[in-house]
């Protein structure tokens, strides 16, 4: 089935064009510092096509892609293409680097935890059971062949959006030298400083209950000239039980939400993908998020 066409809106602003579309369950936009409507439209289309391609290829909510094939392989070997293999290599590397905290096989925990604000904390027995199906070390990965134990699943949602931002950035930069900002639901990348010598302005949302008195300053304002920026965390997704607030960041080693995790972590790095991994790993450090980021020596913004 061909991908359903996603509407692309092109708007002209003072000194740039903004192209918007919906993909990967997020509002996506690409800002292009040009007065050339045709160029802007082309780049917008390019961005949308690539975002939609990546979503279709790696979404675990579809039944016609490689992820579906892997997740329904019941222990048999699956041969994957180069791009998928590159992502699996990368995910495996991040698993090693983070000593198991970043794990693309941890998605099955979603069967136990639902972060819709309702008081439903699963019992430890069911979580323990799920842990048998989690762990990249249990996977048989020998490029290009992958075999998962029956019952295991992979989910590339933790890097897919950031990867799409960087892929689009690569494609766009082959077409133009203009300053371009790619923003997929808050994960973003700027190709270069704008002609004024300044960057693009980005707001970081703060937890909403603090907003009642100072609605605007509650949003931090960042200026990004070049490189990637990714945010992990969502103040709106949580469970409260016995006065304890459970955030939606789950530790794949324990199956439980991380205690003391910030509301959100934003990190700037050379690419959006790298920024996303660092932001996720910082969330997983809980109370130690800032200390971890200080060690990495990256620009970061933590909202608690």
């Amino acid at each position: 089935m061909p991908p359903a066409a996603q509407a692309l809106q092109v708007e002209q602003h003072d000194d740039y064009f903004c192209c918007r579309f919906q993909a990967m369950a997020s509002p996506c936009e690409i800002l292009i510092e040009t007065a050339d409507r045709q160029l802007a439209g082309q780049l917008g289309q390019l961005a949308r096509d690539e975002a939609v391609r990546i979503e279709h290829k790696f979404s675990r909510y579809r039944d016609d892609n490689i992820v579906h094939q892997i997740n329904h392989s019941h222990g048999t070997m699956v041969e994957v293409d180069d791009e998928t293999a590159d992502l699996l290599d990368y995910a495996g590397f991040c698993y090693e680097l983070s000593e198991g905290l970043f794990d693309i096989s941890s998605g099955v925990l979603g069967q136990a935890w639902r972060f819709d604000g309702h008081t439903a904390v699963p019992d430890s027995a069911s979580i323990k059971q799920l842990l048998c199906y989690i762990g990249w070390d249990k996977v048989n990965w020998s490029r290009p062949w992958l075999a998962l134990n029956d019952g295991m699943q992979i989910d590339l949602g933790g890097i897919g959006k950031e990867y799409a931002v960087d892929r689009v950035a690569g494609l766009v930069q082959q077409q133009t030298d203009c300053s371009v900002l790619i923003n997929f639901g808050g994960d973003l990348y700027s190709s270069r400083a704008r002609q004024t010598g300044k960057g693009w302005h980005i707001g970081i949302e703060q937890p909403e209950y603090t907003q009642s008195n100072k609605p605007m300053l509650a949003n931090k304002l960042l200026e990004i000239s070049s490189g990637g920026l990714a945010t992990s965390g969502d103040a709106r997704r949580h469970i409260i039980k016995d006065g304890q607030r459970y955030g939606h960041i789950l530790n794949p080693l324990t199956g439980w939400p991380v205690v003391g995790a910030p509301c959100s972590v934003s990190v700037a790095a050379a690419s959006c993908t790298e920024a996303g991994i660092l932001a996720t790993l910082a969330m997983l450090q809980g109370e130690q998020a800032e200390a971890f980021l200080d060690t990495q020596q990256v620009p970061y913004w933590v909202v608690r």
Binding site: D86, Y90, F93, C94, L97, S98, E99, L101, Y163, D166, R167, A169, G170, Q173, S190, A193, G199, H201, G203, P207, E208, Y209, S212, K214, M216, L217, N219, K220, L221, L222, E223, I224, S225, S226, G227, G228, A235, H238, I240, R245, L253, A268, A269, A270, S271, T273, E274, I277, L278, L281, L284, Q285, A291, T295, Q296, Q297, V298, P299, W301, R304
Partner: protein, 415 residues
């Protein structure tokens, strides 16, 4: 524990990411912009047949980083129109001198006397500085000055806020002081002496200028109940000393037949020269999925005998798209009068203190309003608010209703 926090993984990660992306990555340049927040507003307040106020407001607030802020606010008020002078309506026309004593005006029979020489421009400037003292303690220092033709005020305030319990509880304490200078047109009359009924007749003067001092203490607690619910409780205690009378307000004095007495039918009001007041305030904020409800209650009491209850309810209703909202507002205020409030006085029975200012009487105020807010882009916000207010007598003081329309436009942006 798992990831040794003293170990940097960044170089390894950068190299691996660069392999994945085949070299898209580049030098990172991102920084936090620390903008000015600019708020501007224009308020129009019009009482039916009485006072009209035009009020432009401009405020800027600057984030200095590390949770330090400074802010400056400038307000202008332009007031014009008529205000009840305190005398009661009678069966015959009444003539009054204006406060300057240079002219007279006549109120037709059966109408509430309104002094329409009420006209003034006020300018107010205030500033504040907010700075953390340590991780859990911050202070806000403020100063304000306002001036108009017959009044000026200068004030200082200091507040401390202490975060406890993982910032779920905040204790606040504050002190503020102000010194006000009252210098009426036509000078300050002696309280309870006769109001001249003809222009050119001199009133008994107390002084050219009087002053009052106000000290206020505040204690508060703010508690996060859950991430969507906030409770706030405040107590304020205040002490006012000095000239608390309104030099323009008068009372009618009636004879035994219920008619204005023949000699000196009006006298100037006089209030005590001190007042102690207390108030408690409780506010709850709750956010539903996107809508926000805010309810508050205030109880006020002072040693003049006034007590009041205020109920306030706002509901912010998010419209489709999340970029604009409607906010209905209901406010109800009811007050028990001051001990020395009198609609009018009896000849030969003049008390030590007396005022016929309806704002000290048994009264209630009901306000209904609607605000529309529109978020324009990420850093611009526009709002329009329309409210109608009705003040009316409670109990037996038969002063007439006062109704007003309030319209406000506001625009805020980050610069």
């Amino acid at each position: 524990m798992q990831l040794n926090k003293s170990k940097s993984i960044r170089q390894l990660l950068t190299a691996a990411t660069s392999t994945l992306l085949a070299g898209t990555a580049q030098h990172v340049m991102a920084e936090e912009k620390i903008p000015w927040q600019v708020d501007s507003a224009f308020l129009y307040y019009a009482e039916k047949d009485r006072v009209t106020v035009l009020e432009p407001v401009a405020a800027v607030r600057k984030d200095l980083g590390d949770d330090e802020f400074i802010g400056v606010r400038l307000v202008f008020d332009s007031m014009s129109g008529a205000s009840p002078n305190g005398a009661i309506p009678t069966d015959t026309a009444q003539t009054f001198t204006t406060p300057s004593g240079n002219s007279t005006f006549t109120t037709p029979a059966g109408e509430t006397p309104l002094d329409d020489s009420y006209q003034d421009v006020r300018a107010a400037l205030s500033g504040e500085w907010e700075t953390p003292l340590d991780e859990h303690l911050k202070t806000v220092i403020g100063a304000n000055y306002s001036t108009e033709r017959d009044y000026s005020s200068v004030g200082l305030s200091a507040n401390l806020a202490w975060d406890l319990n993982k910032r779920n509880t905040t204790l606040t304490t504050g002190i503020s002081m102000s010194h006000d200078q009252v210098s009426a047109v036509g000078y300050i009359p002696v309280g309870l002496t006769a109001v001249p009924t003809q222009s050119g007749v001199q009133k008994s003067l107390q002084s050219m200028e009087e002053s009052k001092d106000i000290k206020e203490l505040l204690f508060g607690i703010t508690q996060v109940i859950d991430p969507k619910t906030l409770l706030q409780f405040n107590i304020t205690l205040a002490d006012e000393q000095g000239y608390l009378t309104d030099p323009y307000k008068i009372l009618s004095v009636l004879d035994n037949n219920g008619q204005l007495r023949a000699n000196d039918p009006y006298i100037y009001e006089k209030r005590p020269d001190s007042r102690r007041r207390q108030a408690v305030y409780l506010k709850a904020n709750h956010q539903f999925n996107t809508d926000v409800v805010q309810a508050s209650y205030r109880y006020y009491q002072d040693d003049w005998g006034i007590s009041s209850h205020t109920l306030n309810l706002h509901y912010r209703y998010e419209l489709v798209g999340g970029r604009h909202y409607l906010q209905p507002h209901v406010r109800y205020y009811i007050q028990d009068k001051a001990d020395f409030y009198h609609y009018s006085l009896q000849d030969n029975n003049i008390p030590t203190y007396a005022s016929a200012d309806y704002r000290l009487g048994d009264m209630s105020t009901t306000t209904l309003g609607l605000k529309y807010g529109l978020v324009l882009g990420e850093f611009h916000e526009f709002g329009a608010r329309l409210e109608s207010m009705k003040q009316q007598a409670e109990g037996d003081a038969p002063f007439p209703d006062n109704t007003a329309i309030i319209f406000q436009l506001n625009y805020s942006f980050l610069y």
